[in-house]
């Protein structure tokens, strides 16, 4: 009690001091974004799964944006609202492998266990990772001025020509973009206007074909930008204007503090840590896609899903090695500059064991997966960093029944209970994916999970009272 009162006393003094002097001291949020892909001709863009890595501490933010754009590079352009004018040094191009590694490290995973001899309980496990989710996974200036558009910065980074624009009004901006060959949908004008009135600038990137050829690239690399902003958000509104249906986005947030969540949409944990029928090993990708669809519907298409939340210095089990110091720095984890330490020690069999290193100890990764469209996600995604450091991962378990020969009373019980266990697994899978119950059962029967006369035929179980008294 006394402790509480003492603590309270000191807190009260602090809060009153601060709150009275400046009521507006609340440091919270920053501002980031994600893509809006515009075709320079009437090319239909496939804009269905984008990946965004947000590194953030206090107001400092580094955002990496990767798309799965498959079309002609000449047709590619990207317009992203940004909170401030960015200079050349604030923009960087990185490689796709980095994002793919982060994706693999945080991907939902399937774990395999083998039941031990029921007469001698012990366990072994091995793990398979989902490969799904991200696999697919001058005159100008004059004209600009005439439309009230100001080219704040203009530079080339890697294979991209980049413009940072500010504008007086959205119609001028839209006309200018149209004249420059960017096909901006008519509906986007209002959204552009809203961002302009909120003091945002526009980051416009298109591929410089000559540079791309010089670099010998045939694909698009992720663009990174570093800036400071108190808003912590991703602008998705332009993207919804451009798209007919829903789009998937994966947000990988790297913070010092802990888990990141959305403040204006529900952040829901993806169902996890459950035993499922053995056959999903072959169909794990399909299972995850179907389960995700069902979960999205269950939340009325309005939730953001948490798929992974863990400190970057460990994983258990590891779907891929944690990112190295160099990889994290490349992603923009700027606070690592102040650190030094030994090279992370990694196990010779990283997929089986927990990995620990002292180096990345203060990088916490959150993987969020959102399927959004204009109807259900009318507002940009707003985020906050919390102090929640509890681990979470999408993890699914296959538990192989014991196949050996055993004869003891425990084994009899074990075998007698197996059909019941399989039944639960079947029902769970059907509930998660909406797959046909009949098909699930049939597939289980053919993959060593029979519902009748399990691995070993068992006698009808004895009444519960048998064996209480040894009469």
């Amino acid at each position: 009690m006394k402790r509480y009162l003492n603590q309270l006393g000191s807190i009260v003094v602090r809060v009153l001091g601060v709150a009275m002097v400046s009521g507006l001291l609340f440091a919270t949020q920053a501002q980031a974004f994600c893509g809006f892909y515009v075709a320079k001709a009437d090319t239909k863009l496939f804009n269905e799964a984008s990946k965004v890595v947000v590194v953030r501490d206090e107001h400092k933010t580094v955002v990496t944006m990767a798309s799965d754009y498959q079309g002609d590079a000449k047709e590619f352009a990207m317009v992203v609202p940004v909170p401030a004018v960015l200079k050349k040094g604030q923009v960087h191009i990185t490689n796709n492998a980095l994002i793919d590694h982060l994706d693999a490290y945080t991907a939902p995973r399937l774990v395999e266990y083998h039941d031990s001899d029921p007469c001698r309980p012990r366990m072994m496990h091995k793990m398979a990772r989902s490969s799904m989710m991200m696999e697919s996974s001058a005159p100008m200036a004059d004209s600009a001025q005439a439309h009230g558009v100001k080219i704040e910065e203009e530079f080339t980074v890697g294979e991209y020509d980049i413009l940072i624009l500010s504008a007086k009004e959205s119609s001028g901006l839209q006309t200018w973009l149209d004249q420059q060959g960017y096909k901006v949908p008519e509906k986007a004008r209002k959204v552009l206007g809203s961002y302009l009135k909120q003091g945002m600038k526009f980051f416009v990137a298109k591929v410089n074909i000559k540079q791309q050829e010089k670099l010998g690239l045939t694909y698009l690399r992720p663009i990174q930008m570093a800036f400071e902003s108190e808003k912590f958000m991703l602008p998705i509104r332009l993207g919804t204007v451009n798209s007919k249906g829903s789009q998937d986005m994966f947000v990988f947030a790297l913070t010092k503090q802990g888990r990141v969540e959305t403040t204006n949409y529900r952040t829901v944990k993806i169902p996890s840590n459950m035993d499922l029928p053995l056959f999903i090993k072959k169909d794990f990708d399909q299972f995850y896609k179907d389960m995700f669809n069902v979960q999205v519907k269950k939340e009325n298409n309005r939730a953001v899903f948490l798929e992974y939340a863990w400190n970057m210095n460990a994983c258990d089990p590891c779907a891929a090695d944690p990112l190295s110091h160099a990889q994290l720095k490349e992603l923009g984890v700027f606070w690592l500059n102040q650190q030094s330490g030994p090279v992370p020690r990694q196990d010779s069999q990283p997929n089986l064991r927990r990995i620990r290193s002292s180096l990345a100890a203060n990088v916490y990764v959150t993987r969020l997966h959102v399927r959004y469209d204009a109807k259900n996600f009318p507002e940009d995604l707003m985020f906050q960093t919390t102090n929640n450091k509890r681990n979470y991962q999408g993890r699914y378990v296959m538990r192989h029944p014991w196949k050996g020969k055993s004869s003891c009373s425990m084994a009899e019980d074990y075998f007698a209970r197996l059909p019941q266990r399989f039944e639960k697994e079947a029902q769970r899978l059907v509930g998660l994916t909406d797959w046909s119950y009949k098909d699930v059962r049939a597939r289980m029967e053919t993959t060593g999970q029979p519902f009748k006369g399990a691995a070993k035929p068992s006698k009808p179980s004895a009444p519960w009272w048998k064996g209480i008294w040894n009469d």
Binding site: I11, N264, K269, R302, A303, M382
Partner: protein, 261 residues
């Protein structure tokens, strides 16, 4: 006795908040840890008991229960000890900050703000989603009716002012109506409007003062949220506005007293 029991709005509040917590725990709709809720509730009741004994009063368990139920629903802490600490801050604020025998801050609100600002706790405003609001609205209204409308004005004026501000912002930015609807269709906002700012112990007594109080809350909360990007600006606004309630009470009680003559 029976009539008294039914007239006490706190009973309805306990039933509603308790029900909401149970549903949240049971359905996992809310990401709530039952141990954390126990820590909030247990420590609040205990601390209230100890402080009541020290000040030679009867154990005010109802107030402590309402406060800790609100904390359980709104505040998230990384440890159980911090949950207990939050309850301590809430209950102690009632004893430490008083003006003419009335506590100044809404205890749960005060603890949430202190713990979010200075300790490692946080609020998850997104947790309510955008579907639960209808039921919340209806039950909230039911609660208000049961309160015999003593503070309905505060909730309604606050909500109307907030809607007006949002509508003005939306018109200025040229945002679609759905966006505004999304911002309003928010369980956290309704819970705040119906269950936190309507606290008869911490809202002003005079009707005119209550209008000022409700409008000030909406304006400060709106500015914090949309211009300073504080995701739960309302909660911070309430602490600031509560600081002015003693002044409002003094100002308006005197005037109304004089007018009464």
């Amino acid at each position: 006795m029976r009539a008294l029991t039914l007239n006490d709005p706190r009973h309805y509040q306990i039933v509603f908040l308790g029900g909401l917590l149970c549903v949240g725990l049971w359905s996992s709709f809310l990401d709530i840890d039952w141990l954390q809720s126990l820590a909030f509730i247990g420590s609040a009741l205990l601390i209230q008991g100890v402080l009541d004994v020290m000040s030679k009063r009867a154990w005010n368990w109802k107030s402590a229960l309402i406060t800790s139920l609100s904390l359980s629903l709104l505040l998230r802490t990384p440890s159980l000890s911090m949950a207990a600490c939050a309850s301590g801050v809430a209950i102690a604020s009632k004893f430490l900050f008083t003006f003419k025998g009335q506590h100044v801050f809404n205890p749960a609100n005060f603890a949430i703000v202190i713990c979010a600002l200075f300790l490692d706790a946080w609020i998850s405003p997104g947790q309510w989603g955008h579907n639960a609001w209808l039921s919340l609205l209806f039950i909230g209204l039911g609660f208000l009716v049961s309160m015999r409308a003593t503070r309905v004005d505060v909730a309604l004026i606050f909500l109307l002012s907030f809607i007006l501000l949002l509508a003005l912002r939306s018109a200025y930015l040229g945002d679609p109506f759905e966006l505004m609807l999304h911002q309003l269709n928010n369980g956290a906002l309704l819970l705040f409007a119906f269950f936190m700012i309507t606290d008869p112990r911490t809202s002003p007594n005079h009707w005119l003062a209550r209008i000022i109080y409700a409008v000030a809350l909406a304006v400060i909360g709106f500015v914090l949220q949309y211009y300073f990007f504080v995701s739960q600006g309302m909660l911070f606004a309430l602490v600031l506005v509560c600081l002015c309630v003693p002044l409002l009470n003094t100002l308006f009680v005197e005037r109304s007293y004089k007018w009464g003559i």
